[in-house]
């Protein structure tokens, strides 16, 4: 049982490039989330999903897109990367009968 996995762990992008952050969970959780954490700050919700085919915006969705074609996967797409998107990105999941929200290890993204 791997829990929530994220790839890559680190990435450096040039301004204007695009990339996809991958997130997979093997706990059959319905709810999945993408957060960003800026240095010294708390977590801000980017997008979330309540099940396959259903996604919705969180607090800071601009510059990002998501899809949820399966229960397991919830990729986050960055289009036209900007320095303001330099952050650590966390994926998380929660099942209906789960005690807590489970987090992936995070992806550190730098845009220069």
């Amino acid at each position: 049982n791997a829990g929530v996995t994220q790839t890559p762990k680190f990435r450096i992008l040039k301004i204007g490039q695009s990339m996809t952050l991958q997130c997979t969970q093997d706990m059959n959780h319905n709810y999945m989330y993408w957060y960003r954490q800026d240095p010294g700050m708390g977590l801000k919700l980017i997008y979330y999903s309540v099940g396959a085919g259903i996604t919705d915006k969180g607090e800071v969705p601009n510059g990002y897109n998501v899809s949820r074609s399966t229960t397991e996967d919830f990729p986050l797409r960055l289009e036209l990367a900007a320095p303001s998107q330099t952050s650590v990105y966390f994926c998380a999941s929660w099942g209906r009968d789960s005690y807590e929200q489970y987090f992936g290890p995070g992806t550190r993204l730098t845009v220069t």
């Binding site: 708390g42 977590l43 998380a92 807590e100 929200q101 995070g106």
Partner: protein, 116 residues
């Protein structure tokens, strides 16, 4: 809308002593969950303790306990016999009992420093 406030950006404590981290929240709901998560330098988010609002008894997990004051909307975390491994960012979070798509509302965090 619900909000969560952690008024202490940083706290320090001597190893083996006790420290209390503060958290207040604002909600009109009567049933909800409250959480403390720990984020060590590894960045991994780790659940420390959870409290259901309908439970009178304060939650306890080994050296970690909470002081839940529902009327005051206060949810502080007490760490007893502090250890070097407790050094981390600590985040308080709130979740409605039903609905809200299981979203957590997060505080800004408190950085805990343990002095050897």
């Amino acid at each position: 809308a619900q909000t969560v406030t952690q008024s202490q950006p940083e706290m320090s404590v001597q190893e083996a002593e006790t420290v209390t981290l503060s958290c207040t929240y604002d909600t009109s709901e009567s049933d909800y969950y409250l959480f403390w998560y720990k984020q060590p330098p590894s960045r991994q988010m780790i659940l420390v303790i959870r409290q259901e609002a309908y439970k009178q008894q304060n939650a306890t997990e080994n050296r970690f306990s909470v002081n839940f004051q529902k009327a005051a909307k206060s949810f502080s975390l007490k760490i007893s016999d502090s250890q070097l491994g407790d050094a981390a960012m600590y985040f308080c979070a709130y979740r409605r009992m039903e609905g809200s798509n299981y979203q957590l509302i997060w505080g800004a965090g408190t950085k805990l420093i343990i002095k050897p």
